[in-house]
Subunit: 236 residues, 2 copies
DNA sequence: AAAATACAATATGTATACAAAAAGAATTTC
DNA sequence: GAAATTCTTTTTGTATACATATTGTATTTT
């Protein structure tokens, strides 16, 4: 590890974030202050500040006298996720279509290129991170400080759930993954056309695609989830 | 300041939170590490941890090499607020009606009693805090980790905006404030009846009441806010 | 006198040392 | 031998000391 403390701190922050998103650090795993402290050549003080930042953003859980853990994912988590996601993401996309600046659209196009590149020859982690980046940009476009906190938390678990089916070995998923990429293209087009209603609908379609994948691969039998239910707040 | 460091830390946390919510610390004001450090008998390390927690929750802004500030409120903030609030709060109330446990309903009733007590002889700050507590409980009832981050941020600025008209000197507001209290009663009834649709509608009515107050007292003329627009995600 | 620079004072960021608590290992007790 | 207890080790929390950056003041320069 090199550079000034400030850049080492940023490196720690970025690394942990990526490791959480890609399940390299699985939900519930403990973080070792001393080990990370040596690895990133930082004393415990700035290290613990990074922990607190990440905890505030929902990546970690800090427990009194018991160290930091990667935020858990449970059955309830998944249920909450699919309850909140269509509404929040629909709203974010709608606002993105209304407010997107040209430079942000450029960024989105670049992120989509990177996503397709990752699909074509990248690892599962690279795919999940590229997809995450795409959606982060739509959040920046929406630019609403009250919506973004929930949106960012959703993106964390969206990435982690996605990791399950972005792994290259899951050949069955190839079609779904390519459909996701097509939806991204449609999202870009809708944003460029300032089509807020179409954008919101695309958001819902996109989450529903994820939901289908989860059902197939992750969902334990018997989990009480209202799959057929119209999502809250979008029952138009 | 007395007790063990842990309780002093909690006191600092609670005090700052209340001071932000009640505008005793106005938006944008600087926090003095050294002064607070002496006042609460804490060294700078735990103090700065509290700052980071509060920043993560949206109470403070931390700027590199430039200390902590109370989160700003701007025209854009108000606009974002009224765009996001009906949707988020509607969803929270809906889930509250679905999930509320009996003990939580008891807490809500107690909070409402405290709110009425504050209206009848309390300071503006006490009123705002009591109202805040009421809504916090509905958030606990909803119990969705993806919705709560945005909800909590909304509550912060809801309290701060409210402070403008909870001041006793604004006699014109007496009727609106009493209407707010009645709405709280209706909300409790709807939750007890597990009436999710009614609850969501009450949430929207409640925010609209706030919006009317803001228009009268705070809103600068000419601010481009879509007052007549149906809120995102609830255009049923 | 105004602007620019250099200096001093203050505030913030990081590292280390110490205190307290939790976790683990060894011993004792039954 | 299992359970409980004590003791040791490790980990977490806090305080302090030092390094760095920013801000305010005084001096210099034009």
């Amino acid at each position: 590890m090199q550079g000034d403390p400030k850049s080492r701190k940023a490196a720690l922050y970025d690394t942990l974030k990526a490791q959480v998103l890609t399940l390299e650090l699985p939900p519930g795993s403990d973080l070792d202050e001393t080990a990370l402290s040596e690895q990133f050549a930082l004393s415990r003080t700035p290290l613990r500040e990074v922990f607190r930042n990440l905890a505030g953003e929902g990546f970690l859980d800090l427990r009194e006298n018991r160290g930091a853990r990667v935020a858990e994912m449970s059955h309830k988590t998944l249920r909450d996720f699919f309850l909140a996601a269509p509404m929040i993401y629909g709203a974010v996309m709608r606002l993105a279509a209304l407010n997107a600046r040209p430079d942000q659209v450029d960024m989105l196009v670049k992120a989509q290129d990177a996503f397709r590149a990752a699909l074509d020859g990248g690892t599962g982690a690279q795919r999940a991170l590229a997809n995450n980046r795409f959606h982060e940009i739509t959040g920046e476009m929406a630019d609403n400080i009250y919506l973004l906190p929930s949106f960012h938390r959703l993106l964390i678990d969206h990435a982690r759930i996605s990791m399950t089916f972005y792994r290259p070995q899951h050949e069955v998923m190839a079609q779904d993954v390519s459909e996701a990429a097509s939806q991204h293209d449609a999202i870009i087009a809708a944003i460029q056309a300032r089509d807020e209603v179409g954008c919101a609908q695309l958001a819902i379609d996109h989450w529903n695609l994820s939901r289908g994948k989860i059902e197939m691969f992750v969902m334990p039998a018997g989990l009480d989830m209202p799959l057929g239910q119209v999502p809250i707040g979008l029952s138009t």
